[in-house]
């Protein structure tokens, strides 16, 4: 049977950061348990971040062998337009690659990943490129805005080439009303503001996806070296991980919320990138996404080989930054 593996990956973090203290100084409080978060510059959007992450991922890949491109974001700059076209031109990919775009919820990232796995069967080419790029937005007056960050990551999937082998997926999706949503034409996410219900929906959905996956593969939490859960904040994700049966050691490298903020569709996939920087052979990894509304995808991987060496480490990217103040932040967001 054909195996499908991640053979290369790339990351883009915006250069600008804002610290939690800036919110506290300006507003008296900060509703998000961040240390700092990544902020897009005025000339960045999810497409520019997507291109940069993808360039990082394909630097040592034969791009003529890429036959699939899937792109995910909850915040595309156009509501209608084929944005994979922009990416194809910028990366000089074949114009006959099979493409799709995923959006509408933070589940988009793993949706694009799963879609690429399926689409690989429809092409003679060896590789699929998955790009997840996200930046969330809400009105500056809303508490939920405080944690909204931005980032992009990209993965090259290959047929029968050793790397991080995909082992299986389990989905859990159902109705959970009015927690976090956005209406057509609106740029701001709405939130009912009742954290208890939001956390309850997150806990139930993610837990069922992870348990389902463990059951399907006949595994236990201790079989995994790394687990990365979607993060609306670190505390909730850590508490849930422990409840499922994972320990701090298994979770620590996938936790990024306190340094980059809520990166929506990117959240769990970005955590995977940090884990991949130091992964050992035979390590097993669980990645679990979450989208409000609500749904969750748990994905299982096994490391079979060293991935392509990267020129920039995740840590180096986290450290390459410039802090801005809250006024500059509001200007970048075009609030003033």
């Amino acid at each position: 049977m054909m195996t499908k593996n991640i053979v290369s990956y790339g990351v883009y973090l915006p250069f600008l950061r804002i610290k939690r203290d800036e919110y506290v100084n300006a507003l008296g409080s900060c509703s998000a348990a961040i240390k700092e978060k990544a902020v897009m510059d005025i000339d960045e959007d999810v497409i520019t971040m997507a291109v940069e992450a993808a360039r990082d991922a394909i630097a040592d890949v034969d791009i003529s062998q890429i036959g699939v491109l899937t792109l995910a974001s909850t915040n595309f700059p156009y509501q209608e337009k084929v944005m994979t076209g922009t990416v194809i031109e910028a990366l000089r990919l074949n114009k006959n690659v099979l493409t799709c775009q995923h959006g509408n919820s933070a589940l988009a990232g793993t949706e694009a990943f799963l879609a690429a796995l399926g689409m690989l069967e429809q092409t003679e080419q060896k590789y699929a490129l998955v790009i997840v790029s996200d930046s969330l937005s809400a009105d500056a007056s809303m508490d939920i805005e405080h944690g909204f960050g931005a980032a992009a990551c990209a993965f090259v999937l290959a047929k029968d080439e050793p790397g991080l082998e995909f082992e299986g997926a389990y989905a859990y999706t159902g109705e959970s009303m009015g927690l976090r949503y956005r209406l057509p034409g609106e740029t701001s996410v709405r939130d009912i503001g009742v954290k208890t219900y939001a956390t309850q929906a997150y806990n139930d959905t993610v837990k069922n996806a992870v348990w389902g996956l463990l059951g399907q593969l006949g595994r236990n939490p201790v079989d995994y070296s790394h687990v990365i859960l979607h993060q609306n904040d670190v505390k909730t994700a850590s508490a849930l991980g422990k409840k499922i049966g994972f320990n701090e050691e298994q979770m620590k490298e996938g936790l990024l919320f306190n340094l980059v903020g809520d990166t929506g569709a990117c959240s769990a996939m970005l955590g995977l990138c940090q884990v991949l920087d130091n992964i050992a052979s035979n390590d097993k990894v669980i990645v679990c996404s979450y989208g409000s509304g609500a749904g969750s995808h748990a994905l299982s991987f096994k490391s079979t080989n060293q991935l392509l060496k990267r020129t920039k480490s995740f840590k180096a990217m986290l450290n390459k930054k410039q802090y801005i103040n809250y006024i500059q932040y509001l200007k970048l967001k075009r609030n003033i």
């Binding site: 250069f15 510059d41 005025i42 000339d43 960045e44 959007d45 497409i47 520019t48 291109v51 940069e52 360039r55 700059p77 156009y78 922009t86 031109e89 910028a90 990366l91 000089r92 020129t311 920039k312 180096a316 390459k320 410039q322 200007k331 970048l332 075009r334």
Partner: protein, 142 residues
């Protein structure tokens, strides 16, 4: 409804704007960027091989746009930032190109500084986003 810009002209320039597609003159071997109908170096070659420029180069010269000096398409950026640097970059392959420098170093820009191309929004007109290249201080050594 029409457009302020020539769509065919913009469309033709997409490969050079999005990914620095250059051309190598088959007669004299020099690299032209942006692509030309006739080689700007030997002035006779009209056949070219398309090449992908690396985006790496050094700052040959620079200026800072401030105090209302920005053209209208960049005025929003100028209002937000107060000022922004524009660099003349000598690319590894030879051509010199003008573009903005993002993430300028706090200690200032220097002639000869290593830079690399980055994909950004250049400006927006009629609701259409014009993507293209800018430069940033080189990070590949980090």
């Amino acid at each position: 409804m029409g457009a302020h810009i020539s769509i065919p002209m913009y469309q033709r320039a997409v490969p050079q704007r999005y990914r620095l597609a250059g051309q190598k003159c088959l007669k004299c071997g020099k690299v032209n960027f942006p692509p030309k109908a006739v080689c700007k170096y030997c002035l006779t070659g009209a056949e070219f091989e398309e090449i992908q420029l690396s985006g790496r180069g050094i700052v040959y010269s620079y200026t800072v746009i401030a105090g209302g000096g920005a053209p209208p398409e960049f005025s929003e950026e100028a209002r937000c930032k107060g000022k922004y640097p524009v660099v003349l970059v000598e690319l590894e392959e030879g051509p010199r190109v003008i573009a903005q420098l993002v993430n300028p170093p706090a200690e200032g820009i220097t002639i000869g500084m290593k830079v690399e191309a980055v994909f950004r929004k250049i400006y927006e007109e009629e609701g259409v986003i014009r993507y293209g290249f800018k430069f940033r201080p080189a990070t590949s050594d980090s």
